[in-house]
């Protein structure tokens, strides 16, 4: 009964349902081949890594009542930077320098996040616009870096972060999981989570309770930037090239959707990382399912629409009440008359 009430119950159900569908459509849902997991499920897990990372950062930003539209562009930039530097390497396979370059790309993304945070917290611009600036300009910068072309790299260590396997598990997914665990620890093992929710709940009250709202806000944007950067690296490593034009294009929408599906309200306050994870996996699985069951491209959006509608209705307690029978008696007709149409 209580589990039915849980906001995450229905998203989880839909996720499982979609996975089951894939079980039937796919040749191998999950098997072990030459020493690592292979099949649809591993593909989904690996493919979901970038979205997971981005949505994770988005969760924190949204918890403070903000929003980060720039994630896609940050992905593009970090990917571009990494591939540009790697392609200049003498030996693209030297693990050391690749790691260094990855570090550089991440730092760049953190700085970009800092820029967002500064605009929001210090200058006091509404988040949606503050991050819109980087969303627009950032992709331009990425295109400058790659000169509008696609930069190819032949670096196996770099490719590993997306396509490699560790302990039979896809590395990309492990990275995402690691990030999730870290974030959970960061927010729930410290007081950060509480302060975040408080700032998101009411900036005024938080300020009067002596919380350094600005610092916290800035931090969330920095984290979001960093995670987006990481996502960008995985994205580009996955195709062994930097595609500054389509990297992370429109991912902000999916990320926000994942967060909201996960039960975090856009006005800020309470946030649920577990929810976000389910949300992200759900969206990724949905994408795969569409292809697997062979929905014609022209009908793809309708298909998604149906799922999302089902989702948002299933999440509404009121709707469930109305459908699965109400406990309370409907208001007496006496006043119904007084209710204006």
């Amino acid at each position: 009964m209580t589990i039915l009430k849980n906001r995450l119950f229905w998203p989880a159900v839909i996720l499982v349902a979609l996975l089951v569908v894939n079980m039937f459509t796919s040749n191998q849902f999950i098997t072990v081949r030459d020493g690592h997991l292979f099949g649809t499920l591993p593909d989904i897990l690996r493919g979901s890594a970038p979205l997971l990372l981005v949505a994770l950062g988005m969760t924190l930003v949204i918890a403070t009542g903000g929003i980060d539209l720039s994630v896609g562009s940050v992905m593009a930039i970090s990917g571009a930077v990494a591939c540009l530097l790697i392609s200049d390497l003498g030996n693209q396979n030297s693990v050391g320098s690749v790691l260094l370059i990855i570090g550089v790309a991440i730092v760049v993304s953190l700085v970009l996040g800092l820029w967002n945070g500064a605009l929001v917290a210090a200058v006091g611009i509404q988040p949606i616009i503050a991050t819109l600036i980087l969303m627009v300009a950032g992709r331009g910068v990425a295109q400058l870096i790659t000169d509008g072309q696609i930069i190819n790299v032949q670096s196996s260590p770099y490719a590993t972060i997306a396509t490699g396997f560790f302990l039979a598990m896809p590395v990309a997914f492990l990275i995402a999981v690691g990030a999730v665990v870290l974030t959970v620890l960061l927010t729930r093992r410290t007081a950060l989570g509480l302060l975040l929710e408080s700032v998101g709940g009411s900036p005024t009250a938080s300020r009067l309770a002596g919380i350094r709202s600005r610092r916290i806000t800035v931090m969330t944007y920095v984290v979001s930037g960093g995670l987006a950067g990481l996502a960008g690296l995985i994205y580009s490593a996955n195709i062994k090239s930097a595609d500054s034009i389509s990297a992370g294009n429109l991912i902000e929408l999916d990320a926000i959707l994942a967060v909201v599906i996960g039960g975090t309200a856009l006005i800020g306050g309470r946030f649920s990382i577990a929810g976000t994870v389910i949300g992200a996996l759900l969206i990724q699985t949905l994408g795969v399912t569409v292809v697997a069951v062979g929905v014609p491209s022209k009908a793809t959006l309708l298909f998604k629409a149906v799922i999302v509608v089902a989702l948002c209705l299933s999440q509404s307690a009121t709707f469930r009440q109305k459908v699965f029978g109400r406990i309370k008696p409907r208001p007496a007709t006496a006043v119904r008359a007084e209710v204006p149409a």
């Binding site: 009250a205 938080s206 009067l208 916290i216 309370k328 208001p331 007496a332 006043v335």
Partner: protein, 508 residues
């Protein structure tokens, strides 16, 4: 008067919230032309009864008849249409709209569907004038203090010609004079045959206006009585279900004898501190173990003064010394570093965080001062929280309940607890007893007394002058947002004396 048929009758009302039975088989009658007080401790179910009646919550059981017909409202809109006009607890207005709009929205004067702004402002101004308020009615409501906002809410409610008028703790932050204005209006309406339901924790007020009262305890009906026939003491017993020792024990300690603070160095001393448009430059010193009370009419600038000392607003003139060292308080954190705590009068927008649990709300300030990297161990949290839930009798005593689900008074207690666990050296409390029931109020007053005996300095702001007099060693009188006089709270200093100062505005 004889007994005509009640205009409103509620029978066997039941309302269950997850985890609590807020109302359990409550009957309630309201007769035309009477003022009926609804009494009960914090969390007794008063507001819930009102919200159930007006359709904010739907009922789990029971019947409501209004003017003989069975009704069940689907929302305030419907109840209003049916002639039930309500001021809910807490100020429920849209602070982003102008004063005039807040009074008239939903029933603006129109010609051909076009709102007549001029006329609307004129009417609003007149209406407020009748309550002795002259405000700029086209200013947005958030430019006014909470008390003003409360008056506006009242103005809105009394203006509609209703059969039933419901006032849930309308006087919680009003000063004597405003209360008088309100009572005048209530009496007038009563003459006109309006049935008035009135909730207040001020017994004297209840005895002054109400003809009849109904007592609730823990969501159950205790009884309905004619006010004249029920002595205060008995009323209190019925409300809390036991005799209230603390109360009279505090009654007879009228003047507080100053604790051993003779040699105490001033914790805080302000010279010429001020903020243009908010409060004129003032001098003020607060010693350890001293209770300093702020007295003044509403809008006199008490809150503004308090906020300056906490760094909630920045002073733009004067200097502030803490422990003899010059400091400028740029932010609340800065003040908290010096051991200053400030509990705002506006608990709803500046105080509690509704979505967070009682526990989280209570530890918030302490946690903030420690910084996010040093979380308070859960065990420690639970200890502290339990301690204060007991000390302040927060009900329901469930630390994991979301604060917005608590009754108004209990929310206030949570807010106090938040600051008490920071163990401040200077505790600034603005209207700390707003909406708190007699028992708890006495407890809190006792607490303040104990704190000061323990060497904590307290800046005590309250609209209730008696309270200020009872607790303070020293009383600062404000008027028109300037500090006009400082009084040692010795023999001979009483309400009249202070009102006198306020009236004459003797500038020291």
């Amino acid at each position: 008067m004889g007994e005509p048929s009640p205009v409103l009758e509620m029978t066997g009302i039941r309302k269950v919230f997850p985890g609590v039975v807020a109302l359990d088989g409550v009957d309630f009658r309201l007769f035309p032309g009477e003022i009926h007080a609804l009494m009960g401790e914090n969390g007794a179910g008063k507001s819930t009864l009102i919200k159930v009646l007006t359709g904010v919550y739907d009922i789990d059981g029971g019947d409501i008849t209004l003017g003989g017909a069975a009704v069940r409202f689907t929302g305030p809109l419907q109840s209003q249409k049916a002639g039930v006009s309500t001021v809910y607890q807490e100020v429920n207005l849209c602070t982003n709209l102008s004063v005039a709009e807040n009074i008239f929205i939903g029933r603006e004067p129109r010609r051909l569907g076009r709102i007549q702004w001029g006329l609307m402002r004129k009417r609003a101004a007149e209406l407020l004038a009748r309550l002795d308020l002259n405000l700029d009615v086209s200013a947005s409501l958030d430019t006014y203090s909470l008390a003003i906002q409360q008056m506006v809410a009242i103005a809105r409610a009394v203006d509609v010609s209703a059969r039933v008028l419901i006032l849930d703790e309308p006087t919680s932050s009003l000063d004597a004079s405003e209360v008088e204005q309100l009572f005048k209006v209530m009496r007038r309406l009563k003459e006109e045959g309006v049935a008035i339901l009135f909730v207040s924790h001020f017994l004297d007020q209840v005895y002054e206006v109400s003809d009849r009262l109904t007592v609730l305890r823990n969501g159950k009906l205790i009884g309905e009585y004619k006010t004249a026939e029920l002595p205060q003491v008995q009323l209190v017993e019925k409300m809390i279900g036991k005799e209230l020792a603390v109360l009279d024990d505090l009654e007879n300690k009228a003047q507080r004898t100053r604790a051993k603070t003779a040699e105490a160095a001033p914790i805080l001393s302000a010279t010429g501190l001020g903020r243009t448009g908010a409060i004129a430059p003032f001098d003020l010193t607060i010693n350890a173990g001293e209770v300093v009370g702020l007295a003044g009419l509403l809008g006199s600038g008490r809150t503004e003064l308090a906020r300056l000392l906490f760094g909630a607003d920045r002073a733009d003139s004067g200097t502030l010394q803490i422990d003899g060292k010059d400091v400028t308080l740029r932010s609340p954190q800065a003040a908290m570093k010096h051991g200053i705590a400030f509990s705002s009068e506006n608990r709803r927008t500046e105080g509690i965080l509704g979505e967070l649990t009682v526990r989280e709300n209570i530890i918030l300030a302490l946690q903030a001062s420690r910084g996010w990297t040093r979380p308070i161990p859960r065990r420690k949290q639970d200890e502290l929280v339990d301690k204060y839930i007991k000390a302040l009798q927060i009900r329901p005593a469930d630390p994991e309940r979301e604060v917005r689900m608590l009754s108004g008074g209990n929310q206030q207690k949570v807010l106090l607890a938040r600051w008490l666990i920071t163990e401040p050296r200077l505790l600034i409390i603005d209207e700390p007893t707003r909406g708190i029931d007699v028992g708890a109020k006495a407890e809190i007053q006792k607490l303040v007394a104990e704190l000061s005996d323990g060497g904590v300095a307290v800046l005590f702001v309250s609209a209730e002058l008696e309270e200020v007099l009872r607790l303070s060693h020293k009383i600062e009188v404000l008027r028109d947002r300037r500090l006009v006089e400082e009084l040692e709270n010795t023999e001979g200093v009483d309400a009249d004396r202070i009102m006198q100062t306020i009236a004459s505005g003797a500038t020291s």
